[in-house]
Every structure is written in structure tokens, then in C-alpha cells.
Symmetry: C2
Subunit: 343 residues, 2 copies
Amino acid sequence: MPIERDVPGIVDVAAKADVSVSTVSRVLSGRTRVSDRLRSKVEAAVQELGYRPNAAAQSLVRGRSSTIAVFARNTIRYGYAATLQGIEEAARAAGYVIMIAVVESGDPAELARAVDGTLSQTLAGAIVIEFDEVGVKTLAAMPTSLPVVAAAGARRARGTTPHAFLDDYAGGYEATRYLLSLGHETVHHLAIPATRPRSGRAWGWRKALEDAGAAVPALVQADYSPTSGYDTARGLLGVPGLTALLCGNDELAIGAARAFQEGGRRIPDDISIVGFDDQPFARMWNPSLTTVQQDFVDLGRRTFGLLEQWLASGERAQDSAVTPSLVIRESSASPPRTVSANH
Amino acid sequence: MPIERDVPGIVDVAAKADVSVSTVSRVLSGRTRVSDRLRSKVEAAVQELGYRPNAAAQSLVRGRSSTIAVFARNTIRYGYAATLQGIEEAARAAGYVIMIAVVESGDPAELARAVDGTLSQTLAGAIVIEFDEVGVKTLAAMPTSLPVVAAAGARRARGTTPHAFLDDYAGGYEATRYLLSLGHETVHHLAIPATRPRSGRAWGWRKALEDAGAAVPALVQADYSPTSGYDTARGLLGVPGLTALLCGNDELAIGAARAFQEGGRRIPDDISIVGFDDQPFARMWNPSLTTVQQDFVDLGRRTFGLLEQWLASGERAQDSAVTPSLVIRESSASPPRTVSANH
DNA sequence: TTGTAAGCGTTATCAG
DNA sequence: CTGATAACGCTTACAA
């Protein structure tokens, strides 16, 4: 079954409207004045033929395009997927089209492959979702000749890539301080992989502890999944003085909660658990999850906004921050008296 | 700050290697024999200049490209995001690059806008995620001149678009039969929006009930979110004889579970709840969720495979099905005796 | 095996 | 206001 029924080109439209191709191009771009008579003839021809300009030819001659590439390590996990959705939404509204490239590891060869294929497209710009170490490396691999902005989890150094970010540090700090204010002697932390050593959720947690003069327990490293939360939390069952656990994300939190519950601990009576992100399920959890709310979709929109502004003005845009807010629900409470008595 | 530092073109490479552009093109494509001497000179020049072929120019002259467009209503929800990830993964491995277009509504104008922008790209083919009504309309709007395949939730009529699908009907049927086998008199259904009238999860549920001679309660229509599950389930609290509820997805299930628990019902003692999809959190739920497992990532891979095969062979590929499997966990059990006695 | 040259579908420059 | 015509960067006959 043949599929190559020719797509009409600008010359077909010109022929049908009985004008020159330049005229067709003009009415389509709308940048120059064209007489109403010719304009309507062209529009009719376009309509009739179902003509659609060939973007490849356009970007070839213009040297730029309306395509923007998004680089991310993952597209399934909530934060990534929601950020992508925000980017796509804003890009579509602005007439851009988006290309997505997932970069699975920071391995130079794999990175080069993912990046090369995408960068050989004629791009208007690129966006890197820099929520993890792979994102950092991807950003470093971007050519300086291309406008690139990032969606991040922390403010980056001045003068670098423009970026919109969710203040993970502030979120971690606030959640920890909240737990401390409830009377917990200290707060443990089940961490997602860090983007950089001294930043993000884990760093906010540590600082809040230090500022309050509380002991800083060893950080427990996990991955991102509920299973990882479950597995690592099982190892925490015997830890003395563990009455509050701040988790790097909501999935970890529910995995940990399950592990504790199976171990006979009640939440929040014996142990308080706080998540991060406020995924849709957090509110329905049993008990409902206290967590740090993040608006990833908005982050995505704002990140695209930075790029759009750059493209329009020719100047790098300012950074854009959002401070997350703590949502207090049922999974957190004051520590049990018995444990306090032990100290 | 200027950003237009010229990207090297094939002529720059040719000049530096002191050969013709056709020779450069030949070593890059690898389709024709080139002497080792020239080949290595070219490779050195490519390396040195960091040359990357311009995909727009390539697709312009070739009339096709290595870009495939993916149309989806959403990119956040689990099934969609996971399918997209599978597509991207397979596409990247095969040297394709993917473009994503979200189509928010089936409204003709909005549809045309989303589709037009993307179809003006030179595409190798397109994939439509047809998990909902918008997907059906998007598919209908695709030009016949382009190879298009779909990822679906049910087998479609013969001779139409090639598609890979997860058998929603079978999943709904099996889950319902399982609940009936536990002794429930009937099973209620909290449904996600349907793709088509007589297919999918809801249709499997209905058929299983009919085949077993059980009463078919009115289907309760919900959306996709936990909140929607919660809200609609609250309206079900007073329904007599409701001892088992099959939910259209896991998010609905946890929302419903929460509503019932708040209403004083125990799960599974008073009411059995079964979800759909087996999202990562399902296993960690409290109680852990009995659900119909679906491998969306694999669906995505297989869908891309269909397109790749078509592109390679020039023939439409066969359809490809996967039957989901029920995962029995803690949220389902036999109905309470007291209720049975009432009948 | 290598080079020359004719396009691919548009836009933009430059005359009319 | 409109129409030729020269690029844009690359591939691919066709010659050499």
C-alpha cells in the first residue's frame, strides 16, 4: 500500500492561485503587505490543497527553527513528567514544537549519542531538566552556540545557564524545622540521589538540624522508588531515637511508612513521616501524607518562559525561583512520650 | 552576548580535509566505498570541527527524516508517561528522535493546531497514544500520507492503523471474575473515561458480570485522579450490597479506599477494592492494592517496533497484543458474612 | 574512487 | 505591491 501521495508544496499553491511563490510566502508569513485580491486567492489555494509549509525547508533557509529540545533523565517519574508537561504546554501556546531526549546516564559515550542526535536538528533552543547528576552533565555537554535554559532544584551559580528552580533547600529546611518544632529530638533523612553535594533537600535538612543544635544522624541514601523506600526503611527499624523521618520524595515516604507499619510502628504515633513533592496520591494515603508541595508544571512553564524571553530579546533572562510550601496532614505528630522519656 | 558562533557545515569539513563535499557525505553515510586515505582525513576533520550534519538539510533532500512524532492527551499520568518512555527508549536505540505533541481536547480547532504544527515537520512517522477519546480523534485526523501506528487499550477493527495494545477488556473481565469467585454477589465499577462505548475495562467488567448471571449495577463514572475516586466513592457509601469495587485505575482505587475508610468501612473486610495498572505505589498501599498489572513501557516499545517495521519493510505491521495479569494483594477478600446473610 | 552539479522547499534580496 | 532568483546544507545521479 503506497503512502507517498505527494504533499503539496509552495509551488503547487502558487500555481493554483496563479501567483508567484514569493507572494504565497508573503501571505503566509504576513510580514509584508499583499493586495487583498491575491491574498484571498492564495488563502483559498492553501485551504484547498491542505498546504502545510515544510518546516525543514524553513529552518534551512532561516537558520533557525521553532523546535526546542528537552533533555531529561526520565519521563515517568512525577517531577520530571509534570515539568515536561508544563514546558510542552507553554511551548505549544507560543507556537513551538518540542523534541524530547532522555539521557539515561552521564556516561560520556551515552551522553554524546543522546545529545548528538538531537543537536543535529535545527533547534531554536534547548531545556535541560537538571534534577539529578545526569542533568548536570547534560547541561555541561550543551554547545555554547545554542540558547539553553534549565529547570532545577536549586539556584545555580551566577552567570551560568538561566534557570527556573524549585527551592529544594528551603523545602528541606522548613520540613525539618517543622518536625523539630513538634518536639522531635532530631530528624532522620531518607535521601534521593543528590544533584550536587551541598545543596538540595538533604542540605536543607542538615542545616535545619545544625541551626537548631540537634544531632545530625547519618543520611540514609535511597533511590526514587517506593520499593527503595521500603527496603532502606527496614534497615532503620532498630535505630534508637528515630521518631521522625523526612523522605526525599513521596514515593520513598510511602515505602518507608509501609516498612514501619509492618514492623509494628504506628504512624504518626510512633514515627512521623514527611514526604516531598505532594504527588496526587499523597493526600489519599492512609494516613494522609505531610509533605512539601512543589508545583512542577508551573516550573516547566516558567522554564520555557525563560527560553522564550531569551529568544525574543536576545538576552539571557533572569533566574526564576519558587519556594515550596509545607502541607501538614496526618502522617506527622509530636513524638511519643515514652521515647522522649528515654532521653 | 552573541550566541551565533557559526556551526561548521559540510563544506568546512571538505575544505579542511581537502576533498569534495560528496566525499565527506560518502564517508558519513558509509554507503559507498571511499579510500582509506580520504576517509581518515575526513574523519579527522569531522572530529576537529565537531561537525554535526544538519538534519533539516538532510530531510529536505531525502524527503524523509528520522523524527517521529508522538501524540498524547497527557504526559503526566502513569500509563501515558510510561508508554512514552518505552517509545522514546526504543526510538533512541534505533536512531530516531522523538517529538511530542499533547492534544488536550478533541475540539477540531485545538486538534488542528496541535497536529498542524507537528505535521509540518518532516516526519518519518507518527505514533498516537490512543488511551482516550481524544486519542481516537487525533488518530482520525492523521493524514494518510504518513505512516502512523497507535498504542491502544483494545484491539481495533481489522485493516485500520497498526497498533499495539494492552487488553483492557480481558483485564476488566478477569478482575471481575476473580471478585465474583471470592463470593461477592456482584461487583461495582468506578470507571475512567471510556475510549469507545463497548470496549475496555468497563466492558470487560460488564461481560464478566453477565456471564456469571450477576446483577449489573449502574456504572459510576469518574475521572482519572485520586480526588475523583474519593469524591465519587463518597456517593457510594450508602449503596446496599456494595462489597466489591473494581476501579478503572489505581489512583481512583486509593481515592475510593480513603472515602470508604473515612466512612467506617474496613478494607478488605467490609469492602474489597481492586485497581488497574499496578502503579509503583500500589504495592505499598495500606492495605496493599490488588490490581491488574499492565506493562506500559513494554507497550511503548512494541508500538515503536510496529512503526519501525513498517518503515523498514514498507508494509503495515501486524497488531501486537499483551494480556494483563491480575496481581492479588491485600485489598481484596471474601465479602463479610453479615452482608451475605442479608440477601 | 572521486568530483561536479542539480536539486530538495522555503525565504529574502532585488528589480520592476 | 509583485515576481525572478539566489541562497540554505546536504545527497545523489552523472561524469571523469
